[in-house]
């Protein structure tokens, strides 16, 4: 979960109130979803308990929460480490896609028809993302670009798999025959 670390990042920029943190989170990192207030405060109190942030005195004034949070040295170290660590380059879809192809072939269904449907669905999503990045600002385009490249990789895989369907089917049936 990257919410605590993202909040730490916002706090490294400047100490802040829960409400402002939520607003900034939604603006920069929500990607279309809002972070519930409850989760913000729960996260902040866990971070405070673990010594990653400090919570200031309740300040007088209007509004739900007048505590100012600040990042601690330990929080900053954790943030630093997290930012430097690459994300596991894990494939998101390939096991699912592969399972469908293998199962289709195994069950004598048209894997090619499945791949065509999948290709159309992928391209439709790519069209949406392309439209988004054409109309959105450069910050929103970040996520769209990332999605586009991933979907493009899947598309290449779909093309290649389609070209290899016959040999994949043969390998599966050979395997099945050699098994008791």
């Amino acid at each position: 979960m990257s919410v605590p670390l993202t909040l730490l990042g916002l706090l490294e920029r400047e100490s802040s109130y829960g409400y402002d943190l939520k607003r900034d989170y939604d603006t920069y990192f929500g990607w279309g979803r809002v972070l519930p207030f409850g989760q913000v405060y729960a996260t902040l109190s866990r971070l405070a308990r673990d010594g990653k942030v400090t919570a200031g005195q309740v300040e007088p004034g209007a509004g739900p929460d007048r505590k100012r949070y600040a990042i601690t040295e330990s929080g900053a170290r954790e943030l630093e480490g997290w930012l430097k660590t690459p994300i596991e380059p894990e494939p998101h879809l390939q096991t699912l896609l592969s399972t469908k192809v293998v199962l289709s072939l195994m069950l004598g269904r048209s894997a090619r028809t499945y791949l065509d449907t999948q290709r159309a669905a992928h391209l439709e999503r790519m069209r949406q993302l392309t439209e988004l990045r054409r109309t959105a600002g450069p910050v929103e385009a970040l996520l769209a670009d990332h999605g586009l490249f991933h979907l493009e990789a899947d598309m290449r895989w779909i093309d290649l798999t389609e070209a290899r369907l016959a040999s994949i089917a043969k390998a599966i049936h050979n395997q099945e025959e050699t098994q008791p």
Binding site: K100, H150, M155, D159
Partner: protein, 257 residues
Amino acid sequence: MTTPTFGREASPPIAEGRCLVKSFGRTPALNGASVAVPPGEILAVMGPSGSGKSTLLHCLAGIFTPDAGEVYFDGRRIDHLGETRRSEMRRRDFGFVFQFGQLVPELTVEDNIALPLLLARLPRRDAYAAARSWLPRLGLDGLGARRTGEVSGGEAQRVALARALVHHPKVVFADEPTGSLDSLTGEQVMELLVSITREEGTTVILVTHEARVAAYADRMVLVRDGHVTVADPPAAPSKPADGFTVGVGPQPASLGR
């Protein structure tokens, strides 16, 4: 998601191929390919190398004559026309963008853009004025007097775009227009191609093997073994990343082919 309102169902096609067959020697390229493109549509034609997608484009553009089948442009059959009338039609009604711009390197940017108008016997002054008016639209300000052999690949491809659009063609045929460019430059070219042709209402037939390029189009068809497969997106478009609600369908079809 906004869909362009060019009336995809209502309008008769501006470009159409019916049951096209074309072989090169003993190598079949098209084997009964049919496609219809409504006016104003940006159509992506995808398919693996050697699938016949470029041959299809060349047939629709009246460059190749199919061995069998019919080609229509704007309601008129064109595959039976003589070469003189077809080349006249290509010059007047079509624009072309290829993978390598195919500009004349010794000529300037302006010369290259003005070329289709000069070939159409427009007065020199008018041709050059029109050519110059395209420079800012394509981010080519100040480059008009450069030789095209001296500009960058992305600039050259934008010159090629201007040359394809300068005479306000009805259809632009683009064959791998970003094929020789890096992804950022390719995206700039696609962005310009799409935004200008949408403004002008120009139909685009775009051959590409790259999904990212095809994603700029309104619709995609797939050419496979010389046939055209229309791959409509599923009725309830799913985000492939989360649902996999896209069914295979119940038909007990055979393996691959």
